[in-house]
């Protein structure tokens, strides 16, 4: 450091030893790190969080803080050969808040600070544009007024606009006089609004802005946020004061945004926009149309390759796709902001795959950059591509409007919210078409698969609500007229009546006549296939995908399941044979030794084709469970249980269980099934039950594996005992969680009221998405079975797979899982992530 008084609060970005976020805030630490890496960051200083803490202790700006700031600004002037509040090259700065944790309510950025008459005149000369200088003036005045002085309205912008509209020949006017007049206009508008004005002295501006940042730490919004998220109030915010660079001073200059890879497709080429001679806000505000980034390559190849080099370097250090804001000022390239890039699910998967193949990226980092939700998004239902092409060729494309909420859906056209509800209630898929929507249409929107509006854009009521509730939505279909009276819709020559099928694509905004067939996207994503193979290789787990029909087997295996899971109850319900089973009970209500040969035959008949479809993969089968809540409504549970109360316990009628096991055995023989089929009985909790199941299987003469399906804490705690009598032990995790929390499984599975309960903070762990340590008491004995015995232990996960739960289960040592078909791919990713992090 140079001489002078000791730095207490203020440090140059390139004079800090450690990028300590606690002291420098997240933004400050990031800038220090990048400066240390030799990246071209506009020079600046950071005021440490200690100043903020001192501000809180003293109830005001710490003594000497501003002196220290001013001394550092002087150093900055010397270093850059610019003057703060003067020319020939003015020093303007940005002022930002930045705590170690971001939170709402904190002061935003103030740009272009340091503008007074001299600086403005110099800026007009340097840029060769008086109107640019006036533009900077208005932007600065508004930002300062809003952010530092709490102005609430657009009065300044309106007044400035009015003033500027009355000025002709701006470029040939005297910039100093224009500055004075416009500044006064802005000040008057502000004074009318909040009774105060923006200081003209650059140092006063800077002090005011810094004080506003420190004060914003204590805004009620920020305080509440910290309370709720348990962030210490004495963490404090840092303040970053950085010199501004301009993309419109001299040549070559310009500004742009670059992504290190294409964030839409994931292709590994620099992507973005560039505006020669433009200033950062122009691009952000969308007031000018920037050119694709290749424009930079064409104009200034050496600067483009510098940007390319920096992009590669940053990606290596961040292990991520980045979004880089940059400005070129007179041939010097500066990075203004570097953030993790937002990307589509497709890009995330593609890039993770490329990262895996890149020797310098580790597998955990690559897999970690994709979420199970992104896998689900890729798998989501979409129109068959050939069908879309065909529909277009055949003139079935009705209109192309604006896609407002993604989703590819078809359904019957309905033009009234009430009727949409009525038709949806009969099980029809409905597309609700309205001129516009308002809250009175909400029930109709909720009942529909998709929403179409004639008017409105991507911020209309229909669009906002559709996105909030996850419905496909197309807006701004100006070519369509809705005839509410006659329940019709016309588009050009065509007229559609209510009940006609249409298809809408909420991404492209296309509206088609007829119902386009739906496929699932992941099948066509080779990038996802490659990534999940990597995940499988590291996880080395088995996954059974749930099926109820023969046709589903192939789909589950295509998703990468290593086996299929099914249940006698579900299979027979789907084939329509369950009634025959119930008939057996009804017919033999009083028989002392009921005859279950029919059950054996039905099971054998229906499982033969299923086992044949499974070829040689593992098949997990559980016996009929008349107790499960999903069986309840289907089976007139109470009626059956009234007459056959012994069905209320797992082995109440051993012959019934035996008939199912024997039926599966017959199917195995008939199909010549070479794989392993396990039959398990649900709700078992006692070693005696487990041993009885083994005996029943032996009596049936079945050459297969049998075991238990644990749904109770007792079953889990006694797992090592149960395992002695069986080949397989399945665990239904949701049931154990529900029992641990004392929730009925119905409440557990439905969204509300548990969603609301968790939101209100009444449960610190949401059992549907997280496992906490209270569950260890059950998981430890189960894990012991995995470790110490030959018994196969499988975890059945219900609903959407949670990464946190999978991570915990993997760490406990569980390597066999069963999930719904749609969750096979998300589970493969989650297991790969868990394994890669653990290794």
């Amino acid at each position: 450091m140079t001489g002078g008084p000791r730095a207490r609060y203020v440090h140059f970005l390139d004079e800090v030893d450690q990028p300590d976020a606690h002291l420098l805030g997240g933004k400050g630490a990031g800038l220090v790190r990048m400066t240390a890496q030799g990246l071209p960051i506009p020079p600046g200083v950071v005021i440490t969080t200690e100043a903020c803490r001192q501000f809180m202790r003293e109830g005001g700006v710490p003594a000497d803080l501003f002196d220290e700031v001013d001394r550092n600004i002087e150093r900055l002037e010397h270093r850059l050969d610019r003057r703060f509040g003067g020319g020939p090259t003015p020093l303007l700065v940005s002022v930002r808040s930045g705590a170690a944790v971001s939170m709402p309510g904190m002061m935003d950025t103030i740009l272009n600070l340091g503008l007074n008459r001299d600086a403005a005149v110099a800026l007009a000369q340097a840029s060769g544009s008086v109107s640019f200088m006036l533009d900077v003036l208005v932007r600065f005045h508004r930002m300062y007024a809003e952010i530092a002085l709490g102005a609430m309205d657009e009065f300044i912008g309106d007044a400035a606009e009015e003033f500027l509209a009355g000025i002709s020949n701006v470029e040939s006017s005297d910039p100093g006089r224009l500055f004075d007049r416009l500044w006064r206009v802005c000040d008057e508008a502000l004074e009318f609004d909040v009774g105060t004005t923006v200081p003209l002295d650059p140092h006063e501006q800077l002090h005011g802005a810094i004080e506003a940042v420190l004060r914003s730490w204590q805004t009620p919004r920020a305080v509440t946020y910290r309370d709720y998220h348990k962030i210490p109030h004495d963490l404090g915010t840092a303040v970053v004061v950085q010199s501004m660079v301009f993309g419109n001073l001299g040549h070559p200059s310009g500004t742009g945004v670059a992504f290190t890879r294409n964030p839409v497709t994931g292709s590994p080429t620099l992507y973005g926009e560039y505006l020669e001679g433009g200033q950062g806000e122009d691009v952000v505000a969308g007031t000018v149309d920037p050119q694709p980034i290749n424009d930079l390559a064409d104009r200034h190849p050496e600067l483009f390759s510098q940007l390319q080099r920096l992009s590669n370097e940053l990606e290596r250090t961040h292990h991520d796709i980045l979004d880089i804001e940059f400005t070129i000022e007179r041939g010097d390239l500066y990075l203004l902001q570097v953030r993790s890039a937002k990307r589509t699910a497709e890009a995330a998967v593609r890039v993770a795959g490329d990262f895996v193949n890149d020797a310098e990226m580790d597998l955990a980092g690559a897999l970690g950059s994709v979420s199970v939700d992104q896998v689900r998004q890729i798998e989501r239902a979409r129109f068959d591509e050939d069908a879309v092409a065909h529909a277009r060729a055949e003139g079935q494309l009705l209109t192309t409007a604006v896609g407002a909420s993604p989703g590819e859906v078809h359904g019957v056209l309905v033009v009234d919210a009430d009727r949409a509800v009525e038709r949806a209630a009969t099980g029809e898929s409905v597309i609700l078409a309205r001129p516009t929507t308002s809250p009175v249409d909400l029930h109709g929107m909720l009942a529909s698969q998709g929403i179409l509006t004639v008017k409105g854009g991507t911020t209309s009521h229909a669009a906002v609500v559709a996105r909030a509730v996850g419905k496909a939505c197309v807006v701004g279909c100006g070519a369509i007229q809705i005839d509410e009276e006659h329940h019709r819709l016309t588009c050009g020559e065509r007229t559609l009546a209510e009940g006609d099928e249409i298809s809408i694509d909420g991404s492209t905004g296309e509206v088609f006549l007829g119902a386009l067939p739906i496929t699932h996207g992941a099948a066509s994503s080779p990038d996802l296939a490659v990534l999940l193979e990597q995940a499988d290789a590291v996880a080395n787990c088995s996954i059974m995908g749930r099926v109820t029909t023969v046709e589903q087997v192939q789909g589950v295996l295509e998703r990468g399941a290593t086996g299929v899971a099914t249940s006698v109850g579900h299979v027979l319900t789907t084939t329509g044979d369950l009634d025959a089973v119930i008939e057996v009970f009804n017919a033999q209500r009083d028989a002392r030794r009921p005859d279950f040969r029919v059950v054996r035959r039905l099971v054998a008949e229906q499982f033969g084709p299923l086992l044949a479809a499974a070829r040689k993969v593992d098949v997990g089968i559980r016996t009929i469970d008349f107790l499960s809540s999903e069986a309840g409504e289907l089976l007139q549970q109470t009626e059956l249980l009234n007459h056959h109360p012994r069905l209320a316990v797992p082995l109440g009628i051993p012959e019934f269980v035996g008939a199912q096991i024997a039926g599966v055995g017959d199917a195995i023989s008939a199909a010549g099934f070479p794989g392993r089929a396990y039959v398990s009985v649900r709700h078992v909790s006692d070693p005696k039950e487990a041993s009885a199941i083994r005996d029943i299987a032996a009596e049936s003469g079945v050459d297969g594996s049998v075991g238990v399906y644990v749904t109770s804490p007792r079953g889990a705690l006694l797992a090592p005992e149960l395992a002695r009598y069986g080949d397989v032990l399945w665990v239904q995790l949701s049931q154990l969680q529900a029992a641990m929390f004392g929730l009925s499984s119905r409440e557990y599975l439905s969204g509300e009221p548990l969603d609301d309960y968790v939101r209100r903070g009444m449960l610190t762990t949401d059992p549907r998405t997280a496992l906490d340590e209270t569950m260890d008491v059950m998981l430890i004995p189960l894990a012991k079975v995995v470790r110490d015995t030959d018994c196969t232990v499988g975890m059945r996960l219900s609903g959407d797979v949670s990464e946190q739960i999978v991570d915990k289960l993997y760490a406990h040592g569980f390597r066999l899982y069963a999930v719904d078909a749609a969750e096979v791919r998300p589970l493969r990713l989650a297991l790969g992530k868990a394994a890669a992090t653990a290794s």
Partner: protein, 209 residues
């Protein structure tokens, strides 16, 4: 809440009908919450409105009849004549329309994030992004609050929107982010939208899209 004295039953009728037309299905409790009027007064007004044929009551839910919209528009024209004639009100409406555009953009940013030339759903995994959007929504809501105050000087019921916005934000502040845009709760978007409809009816204007 505090209100000016000297209110007649007509005010209650108007406000209750207004709330029912805005919501389409509304229980007395919902109307009481939306208007800030006591429940018995709301129930009484609902019964009177049913007798007039402007609303239908079924299972405790009120629904506007086909004539309600027209009646309300007419009532608004009579009641709000003074407000409509106020030269300042045009400016106030312009201010709102500007604010509305920024608000809808902020809400879109809450739900979706720009990626190149596309948008992806905001999965709320980036706290910095979310904090920035919430701050922006909060500033806009503060500004709407100011417009509510100005309107409330002549039409006291507008003060209730500010109160509702404040309660919604209190929920958002403790992590209940459904209160930003979900149509299932009295979210900021819901309240904002109702305010907008109410303002248009009060001023006898059509929605610009």
């Amino acid at each position: 809440m505090e209100r000016a004295t000297g209110f007649s039953l007509d005010d209650a009728h108007f406000e209750v009908l207004n709330a029912i037309v805005l919501k389409k299905f509304a229980s007395a409790a919902m109307v009481a919450d939306a208007t800030g009027r006591p429940l018995p007064e709301v129930e009484q007004a609902m019964a009177a409105l049913e007798a007039d044929g402007s609303v239908m009551l079924a299972n405790g839910q009120a629904m506007p009849t086909d004539v309600a919209e027209g009646q309300l528009a007419q009532l608004a024209a009579e009641r709000c004549a003074a407000l409509r004639a106020d030269p300042g009100v045009e400016r106030l409406h312009d201010r709102f329309e500007k604010l509305n555009r920024s608000f809808l953009q902020a809400l879109t940013d809450w739900q979706q994030m720009p990626v190149g030339d596309r948008k992806v759903q905001n999965d709320h995994s980036d706290p910095a992004y979310d904090a920035e959007v919430i701050s922006r929504v909060s500033q806009l809501v503060d500004r709407l609050g100011r417009i509510c105050d100005e309107l409330a000087a002549t039409e006291p019921r507008f003060a209730r929107y500010r109160e509702r916005l404040t309660s919604a934000f209190a929920r958002i502040d403790v992590g209940e982010t459904d209160y930003v845009s979900s149509p299932m709760v009295d979210s900021v978007h819901n309240i904002w939208f109702e305010f907008h409809e109410d303002l248009l009816r009060t001023l006898g204007k059509e929605r610009e899209e």
